[in-house]
């Protein structure tokens, strides 16, 4: 199992460490709910160094990125980030990712740790543009600093004015080292992600400086457990839960990143057909007033216990204090505002179809 550069910090903090995508990762330090609320109300820090980083270089770098992703990367300029996805020819999703434009001939792709090898192979097998595809994942540490007080804390350690717009980035000195800093995150809060190429000793020094700078806001380390509940409150998809090779971006609610009017890209024809024929099922948002909450894989049913769909992500929302879930359901039952049910331990638990995000910002 791999360790991030921060593993000794996690151990010292008594984090519960689990194997996640081959990495020894903190799932919680003390309480998932307390960590969740720290990010919503003040500031929290996630070690997400397990994420994969792949650099694309070459005169046809844009052509390559356009070919393998579904969003329109030609809209990017240097310093701009885009949420996107890669699809198979049948429209199934290879992975979702962030695309950073570094220069006309250079893009930086950030992918899910669990998909890194698959993505890297996929990119190489579709490299008809003779670009360089460089897996730099082992070189990078990544800290996500998230919450309403994140700006002030990041600013205290950064030599540049941190007035970044959402999904923009720059290179700056952060806590004494060169870093790529983007205003991105997976929480729905104001937040930043800081990419660092440092050794273990320097990584730990940066962590300590960050926690010193955030002391007055009671800055907290946040594990993967709260990362999951935070993203679910916002309705952000998680690969392996809500999207995978069997789901297409339209039924997953990712039509907004699917640019069918751009030139040919892998999966375009199939997705076009899905659009023409209409969706058969759809990823919907469900909220309930009961206490029992569903988890990944639980069924969704009508009032007669006929199965009409499957929960992809579910939890008890720490902010709403109610069960929330995302589920694929038969399109005939997917009407906003209508009542359907979770099937939990063979009991019918009523839930209503609502709109995302669950927690309005």
């Amino acid at each position: 199992m791999k360790n991030t550069k921060f593993v000794s910090v996690h151990q010292k903090l008594n984090a519960k460490l689990v194997d996640f995508a081959g990495f020894n990762m903190p799932v919680q330090y003390n309480s998932i709910i307390a960590e969740h609320m720290a990010v919503r109300n003040s500031i929290g820090v996630f070690d997400v160094s397990h994420m994969g980083e792949i650099r694309i270089k070459g005169s046809k770098a844009l052509d390559f990125v356009q070919h393998i992703t579904i969003n329109d990367a030609s809209k990017l300029f240097n310093g701009r980030v885009q949420y996107s996805a890669m699809c198979y020819p049948d429209g199934g999703i290879v992975d979702d990712l962030l695309v950073y434009k570094i220069a006309d001939d250079e893009y930086f792709l950030v992918v899910n740790a669990s998909n890194l090898e698959k993505d890297f192979n996929w990119m190489n097998s579709n490299n008809k543009f003779d670009v360089e595809i460089i897996n730099e994942s082992d070189d990078y540490s990544l800290l996500a600093i998230q919450g309403p007080n994140s700006k002030e804390v990041v600013q205290a350690l950064c030599d540049k004015n941190i007035d970044l717009e959402y999904y923009h980035f720059f290179f700056a000195n952060f806590a004494g080292v060169d870093a790529l800093i983007s205003r991105t995150g997976y929480t729905g809060e104001l937040g930043y992600e800081v990419y660092l190429k440092v050794d273990e000793k320097t990584a730990i020094e940066i962590w300590d400086k960050l926690f010193d700078a955030g002391k007055k806001f009671n800055i907290q380390p946040i594990g993967l457990g709260a990362r999951d509940s935070l993203r679910l409150e916002m309705g952000y998809c998680l690969y392996g839960n809500d999207i995978d090779q069997t789901t297409n971006p339209l039924e997953a609610g990712l039509g907004w990143i699917t640019k069918l009017n751009k030139d040919d890209f892998i999966g375009k024809e199939s997705i076009q057909k899905v659009k023409e024929n209409g969706l058969k099922r759809k990823l919907i948002a469900l909220v309930s007033n009961e206490k029992a909450f569903p988890r990944h894989g639980y069924s969704v049913c009508d009032n007669n216990k006929n199965i009409i769909g499957t929960v992809t992500s579910g939890t008890s929302s720490p902010v709403l204090n109610k069960p929330i879930a995302m589920a694929y359901v038969d399109i005939n039952f997917a009407k906003p505002g209508s009542q359907i049910n979770f099937l939990i331990r063979d009991k019918i638990i009523p839930a209503g179809i609502t709109s995302l995000p669950f927690v309005k910002k």
Binding site: K16, V27, Q28, S31, I32, I33, A34, G225, S229, K291, A292, F293, R295, T315, S316, R345
Partner: protein, 125 residues
């Protein structure tokens, strides 16, 4: 881990406190710590009896769900009413305010077969 010596334990991490014929049932400090934040205790409101080793409900933590097993046969006298709105009492006070069931013990021979604090401490070490 806190393992009080005045309680009996199951290998499934429930505790039983005996007061004459009456018993209180909960989950151990070790169990709550392993489960993490508890958000729901699901016990059928009409449950009248429990029988040793059988499930009488489920306990939901943020990351996982776990069955609750009866330490002995008994008649259910009360389900801790506070847990409906404050399931986190199990995290904060597993042996006190976080009790789950109050029962009338039907078979005291079964109680003697439960684990002592020493045996339970060995189990979780």
């Amino acid at each position: 881990m806190n393992v009080p010596n005045n309680l009996k334990y199951t290998k499934d991490h429930e505790w039983l406190k005996v007061e004459g014929n009456t018993g209180f049932v909960g989950i151990t400090d070790f169990a709550q710590s392993e489960l993490g934040d508890i958000v729901f205790v699901d016990i059928a409101a009409d449950v009248n009896e429990i029988s040793a080793g059988n499930s009488f409900g489920t306990i939901e933590a943020v990351k996982t769900v776990s069955e609750l097993f009866a330490p002995c046969d008994g008649k259910v006298l009360e389900i801790n009413p506070k847990l409906q709105d404050e399931p986190q009492l199990i995290n904060s006070d597993a042996y006190g305010d976080g009790w789950i069931l109050k029962i009338e013990i039907a078979n005291s021979a079964q109680v003697n077969e439960l684990l002592s604090d020493e045996d339970y401490s060995k189990l979780i070490s």
